[in-house]
Symmetry: C2
């Protein structure tokens, strides 16, 4: 069973998950990418994954067989486990609990070589719809406080299998990073009576120098204080608390936004490794109460982080980032690049 | 001039330093390690660095010539610049200031191939003494709020030159990560009336399962909530606010601690890449006032982080870390390894 441990000074949680790798020699050589001909995520090898949780599949095809377009399965080496109780306890001055949570893989296509931005709008729409359905389903489990959906593209970005996939992790505590973002957004709302993300969207559209792409409902831009070269945020122009509340029409327009933005990134940087993260509101907060403002101080968005630079001692020690490319330059390059 | 920009939501600062690298093509290939025969840090090539700020050198040798043991020079491509004013300003809803600060390189030896843990106690003692002297000197500049000393060992850890060296960056704002650590330590002190670091040292020495090495004044251990496999902290057993207040005797004993701990890490993990960071108290806080407690809520220490695993989407999105090696296992391995 993985264990959650809390840093006593910073309040940061760590998952000690010794089922994944352990001994010093395991770190020496990078594990090899499995040959596509043994890839467990490819169509026709459904028996190599744990049984599927959900799939978009052709009529009259059976679960865990061929015929699917997007398939969600439990992670075979989960960082957190679904079964069990939290059993929170102290260890002297320290705090720990069992590593309860969910860790799922969203396999984006049965084809090993079709990356997300190469898919049609309908294809990407189905991936996004799978995100939404898993968020809605897992939010019923009262043990979970937050669900993060993310995508690691390439080995440097943390992907251990090259077959196109996203991941989902549900955690039993609200992560520190999410709490900080919520606190920052709420503080701004209390001060200004406006959503900070709506204000950012307004200033970015107005200045235009950091815009990458815009369609009828969404905008992508390089943030003013980008941590990394070519960092990009994708955000709905209209105020919207969480990803799950999107209409089918919005999902379709978001698919276009993601395809164009990721194609631009790929073209500008010669197919870089990257992570993207869906930042949506936490699950367990009052959704309607007599302070109607509660709906107005968060605004979901996607952060795309190309992995071009290394975190070094200075970044680790301070939380400062050194970014060698001004976001205005990166955005200009991304706007102008041919896709 | 580099620019400091503040993230409006998280309050995190970013240095936009476009003098180092800019265009998409710069990221495609990793720059080559310079050939040792052109290394600007080697003895006899003192003219290839900016003029030295400080050096331990043999009597009657001239600055910027041979004869030194440890040499401190300005970074040729500084992330922050010493000259100028901060010129804080708003840009619409955003905040920026000039990138004022100091960025120095502590060259640890004239010999390209002698890494820090291969040096004698006297040799390492001089490196640590150079850290102390630079901290004392730079703390006189009232524009600086914090000084971080760190060491990047290996390319993955962010080192662009392989010649053994440490770095120092002085910042005009107290970094977020440092503020959080101070706030956590102060909160504990307010609650318990004891230094949280002293309590950690006491519990670690008592439990012993996470201890790596101990000498008369210092202890190294794998922290309870280690973020990374084989993460190690080095800390004085006696309460001590900042690195600068160490006696010559302590520096000598610390040299032994660093040599043994780094040798163990090297032996256990086959010469891993790592970062280490000196966490010391910020410069601009009242050192003596009528709350005498002000001296007792921080405790300097060194964090050593081997670079064995990758940060991936989950870590970026949550601030959670997934650590595949229990600190108790890592510490046992490090205690037992032959050096």
């Amino acid at each position: 069973m993985p264990e959650l441990r809390k840093d006593p000074i910073l309040g940061r949680w760590v998952i000690i998950s010794t089922e994944r790798a352990q001994r010093p020699k395991d770190f020496v050589a990078c594990p090899e990418k499995p040959d596509p001909k043994n890839c467990p995520f490819c169509g026709g090898r459904e028996n190599l994954t744990p049984p599927e949780i959900f799939a978009f599949r052709a009529p009259h095809t059976a679960p865990n067989g061929p015929g699917w377009e997007v398939r969600v399965v439990p992670n075979k080496y989960p960082a957190l486990r679904v079964e069990g109780d939290l059993e929170k306890a102290g260890v002297g001055m320290y705090d720990r609990m069992n590593g309860i949570g969910a860790h799922e893989v969203i396999i984006e296509t049965p084809d090993h070589y079709t990356t997300i931005e190469q898919q049609s709008r309908e294809g990407v729409g189905k991936i996004l719809e799978a995100y939404k359905l898993r968020l809605l389903d897992l939010s019923k489990d009262l043990r979970f406080k937050y669900i993060l959906i993310f995508r690691n593209q390439g080995r440097t970005a943390g992907a251990s299998l090259s077959h196109p996939h996203s991941q989902l992790i549900a955690t039993p505590v609200t992560p520190k990073r999410v709490k900080e973002e919520l606190a920052g957004a709420r503080e701004y709302f209390d001060f200004k009576d406006r959503c900070i993300f709506c204000d950012i969207v307004r200033q970015e559209l107005d200045e235009h120098s950091r815009i990458v792409y815009e369609n009828e409902m969404f905008v992508s831009f390089c943030p003013f204080a980008s941590r990394f070269p070519f960092e990009i945020w994708v955000i709905p122009k209209r105020h919207e608390l969480d990803f799950q509340s999107q209409s089918p029409k919005e999902m379709h327009v978001l698919a276009d936004m993601m395809i164009v933005t990721l194609k631009k990134l790929k073209a500008a940087l010669n197919n870089p490794q990257y992570n993207y993260l869906l930042h949506t509101a936490p699950l367990r907060r009052p959704r309607k109460d007599y302070w109607t403002t509660i709906e107005h101080d968060y605004h979901w968005h996607i952060e795309i982080m190309p992995r071009l630079t290394q975190m070094a001692g200075f970044e680790w020690g301070t939380g400062f980032y050194i970014n060698p490319t001004a976001p205005e330059e990166a955005a200009k390059y991304l706007r102008d690049v041919d896709i």
